[in-house]
Symmetry: C2
Subunit: 356 residues, 2 copies
C-alpha cells in the first residue's frame, strides 16, 4: 500500500506531519513517499505540480494532501499558481467524486455560528462532482464579444458542461452513499435556468429509479444555500456539480463551526483517492504550531477506509480523535472556556496516545 | 408616474394588494395598472410573460412585482414556466443592477438561525449583476459531446460570459452605493478557476481606482459563502455576477431570519426598475391570508426612492413599518412569544394606520 504524501504550503506541512505520525503508529505495511506540491513546488521547480509529483501520485494507491496557496503567489500567471496543482491532480487522476462530510461534533456545538439546536447532531454528506462542469469545460478564454449586450467589447467566457455518463456515475456514488446512511439524496441544480442542470436533474431522476429504497428530492441551488443556513439537519446526502458543490460544501463546513475538524476524500473509479482537510493553507498561522491537525488525521482515516481497505484502522483513528475531544483538548480554532488549549504537535501526541 | 403592478402567483396577489393600499394612501399622483404574469398569465394567455404585460412594464416608470411560480407548472416546457417571466422582464427592460439588502431588524434578531450577536445590527447590501453571466450567455443547449471525458455522449452545456462594459457599469453601481454607506466593497469572484471572473476581478480593480475613498477587497465565492455564515457583519457592499449573486443573496437574506421583511430592486441605466420581495410565491400558504406583506411594502418604498424620486414618501413607509414592528405586530413567519400574531391584511391595516 503506497501513499503519496503531499504536504504543500502554509500549515500543510505541520498538519500532514501529525497525520503521518498517526499512520506510522498503526503497524500497517504503509509505504509513504513525500513530494513537493503547490507554492513549495513552484519555488523549488518552477511548477506547482512537477512531473515527478504527478507521477508519484498516479502510482500511489492514495494521496495524503495538506493544503496549497499563499498570498505571495497571487501575482503569478494562473497556470503557475498553487491551486493549479489540486486541479491538475483531480483531472489527471480522474478524481470525479468528492466526499465532504459536514459533521458537528457534540463537544463543539458551541463553536458554530448557528444556534446550538440547529447544529447539534448535524451529520450531512456533500458529494460534489469534481472533474467536470465549468471548471474544465472548453472553450474558455478572452475574445472580442461576438454578440450580446456589447458586441465588439472585450469579453471573457467559460463553458459549463456535463455529459450523461458523468452525471450517472456521480449520481450512483450519491445513492450508494445514501444507502449506508439515512437513505435520502437531495440533488442540487439550477434546472430553471441552465441547460446543463436540466440534464443533470433528468439523469439523476433516472438513476434514482435504480434505488427505490432511497428518497430523492431536487432543490435549486439558491434554495439549497438558504435551507443549509435555515435547517441543515434536514439534509442527508447532497449531490451536486463541481461549481455549486464548491460553494455549498464550504458553506456547510463553516456552519458546523469546526471546519478544522472536517476531512475530505476525492475518488476515481478505481477507488484511488486524494485525501485532504476541508480547510485551506492558512498562511497567517503557518509555522506557529497552532494549526488543528485533526481534519488531516481524519482524512488519513478516510483514506484507510476508502482506498486502502483498512476499515478497522480507520475506526481506531476516529475513536482516538473522539477520545482527545472528550479529554477536552482543543487547538485554538476550536478552543472555548473550560477546555485545554494545545498546539499542533501536542494534539498529534494526544491522538497517538489515545490510539493506545 | 406610472407603475405596472404585476402580482403574479401564490401569495403574490395578497402581498401586492397591501403594498398598493399603502401606495394609494400616500397622496402622490401614481397611475397604477395591473397585469397578469407568471403562472397566472400562462393560465389565462398561454404565456408567463404576455406581450401586453411586457408592453405595460416597458412603458411604466417602475414595476411592482409580487412573486411567480407554483408546483403545478413544473411539468411545463422551460420557456413556458412562470420564472421565465422574471428572466424576460430583466432582459427586455435591461435591469442589470439588482439590489438585495440583507438587514436584520432589531426586533427580529431572534428569528435568525445565527446567534444573536452575529446578526444584531446586520446591514449589508448585495449587488448582483442581473442581465449577463451564464443566465443569458449563448451558445447553450444539448448536443453530442465533441470532446472531454465522454466524447460522443449526450451533453448539455451553457456559456458563462461577461464583457468589460457590463462589469464596469455594475462595479460603478456598487462603488456609488458604498459611498452612501460604509465605503467598503467586496467583489466576489472565482478568478482562480474562471476566465470570466478573472476579467471581472481585473475590471472591478480598475474601476475601484476611480473611487479611492472606497475600500475594495476581493473574495472567492466559496470563501464568501463561508464568511457570510461565519461573520456577516464584516461585509458592507458585496458585488458579484448573476449566478454567484443568486446564491449568495439568498443565503444572506435567509441568515437574517426574516426574509419575509426583505425588499429588492432591479434597475436599468435609466433608473427604471422592478421591485419585488426577496422571498418567493410560497404556494403552500397562498390564499390563507397569513403571508407577510412587509417585504413588498418595503419594495414599494424602494421604488419610490430609486425610480420615482419620492424619497420623503419612501421614508414615511419605512418609518411606518418600523412602527408596526415596535408595536409588536408579527405575521406568522416572524412571530415569537410575546408578540401579536396578525394576518396579511391586518398587517397592511397597521402600516396604513402608522402612516398617519
Ligand atoms: C483552490 C480551488 C481551485 C478549489 C476549487 O475551487 O475546487 C478549492 O476551493 C476547493 O474547493 O478545493
Ligand atoms: C426564478 C429564478 C429564475 C430567479 C433567478 O435565478 O434569478 C430567482 O431565483 C431570483 O433570484 O430571482
Amino acid at each position: 500500500m503506497k501513499i503519496a504524501v503531499l504536504p504543500g504550503d502554509g500549515i500543510g506541512t505541520e498538519i500532514v506531519e501529525q497525520a503521518v505520525r498517526v499512520l506510522n503508529a498503526l503497524d500497517l505495511k504503509l509505504e509513504m513517499e513525500t513530494a513537493l506540491v503547490g507554492g513549495a513546488a513552484y519555488d523549488a521547480h518552477g511548477h506547482p505540480l512537477p512531473e515527478a509529483t504527478l507521477k508519484l501520485a498516479k502510482e500511489a494507491d492514495a494521496v495524503l494532501f495538506g493544503a496549497v496557496g499563499d498570498w505571495k503567489y497571487d501575482k503569478l500567471d494562473r497556470p503557475l499558481r498553487p491551486e493549479q496543482a489540486i486541479l491538475g491532480l483531480r483531472k489527471n487522476l480522474g478524481l470525479f467524486a468528492n466526499f465532504r462530510p459536514a459533521i458537528c461534533y457534540e463537544q463543539l456545538v458551541g463553536a458554530s455560528s448557528l444556534k446550538p439546536e440547529l447544529v447539534a447532531g448535524l451529520d450531512i454528506l456533500i458529494i460534489r462532482e469534481l472533474t467536470g462542469d465549468i471548471y474544465f469545460g472548453q472553450p474558455r478564454g478572452r475574445r472580442v464579444s461576438p454578440d450580446g449586450h456589447f458586441p465588439g467589447a472585450e469579453e471573457a467566457f467559460d463553458t459549463m458542461r456535463y455529459t450523461r455518463p458523468e452525471i450517472e456515475r456521480i449520481a450512483r456514488v450519491a445513492f450508494e452513499a445514501a444507502r449506508k446512511r439515512n437513505k435520502r439524496v437531495t440533488s442540487v441544480d439550477k434546472a430553471n435556468v441552465l441547460e446543463t442542470f436540466q440534464l443533470w436533474k433528468d439523469v439523476v431522476t433516472e438513476i434514482g429509479k435504480e434505488y427505490p429504497d432511497v428518497e430523492l428530492d431536487h432543490m435549486y441551488v439558491d434554495n439549497a444555500a438558504m435551507q443549509l443556513v435555515k435547517a441543515p439537519k434536514k439534509f442527508d446526502v447532497v449531490v451536486t456539480g463541481n461549481m455549486f458543490g464548491d460553494i455549498l460544501s464550504d458553506a456547510a463546513a463553516m456552519l458546523t463551526g469546526s471546519i478544522g475538524m472536517l476531512p475530505s476524500a476525492s475518488l476515481n473509479s478505481s477507488n484511488q483517492g486524494l485525501y485532504e482537510p476541508s480547510h485551506g493553507s492558512a498562511p497567517d498561522i503557518a509555522g506557529k504550531g497552532v494549526a488543528n491537525p485533526l481534519a488531516t488525521i481524519l482524512s488519513a482515516a478516510m483514506m484507510l477506509r476508502f482506498s486502502l481497505n483498512q476499515a478497522a484502522a480507520a475506526d481506531r483513528i476516529e475513536a482516538a480523535v473522539q477520545k482527545v475531544l472528550a479529554q477536552g483538548l482543543r487547538t485554538p480554532d476550536i478552543h472555548s472556556e473550560g477546555t485545554t488549549k494545545v498546539g499542533t504537535r501536542e494534539m498529534g501526541d494526544a491522538v497517538l496516545k489515545a490510539l493506545g
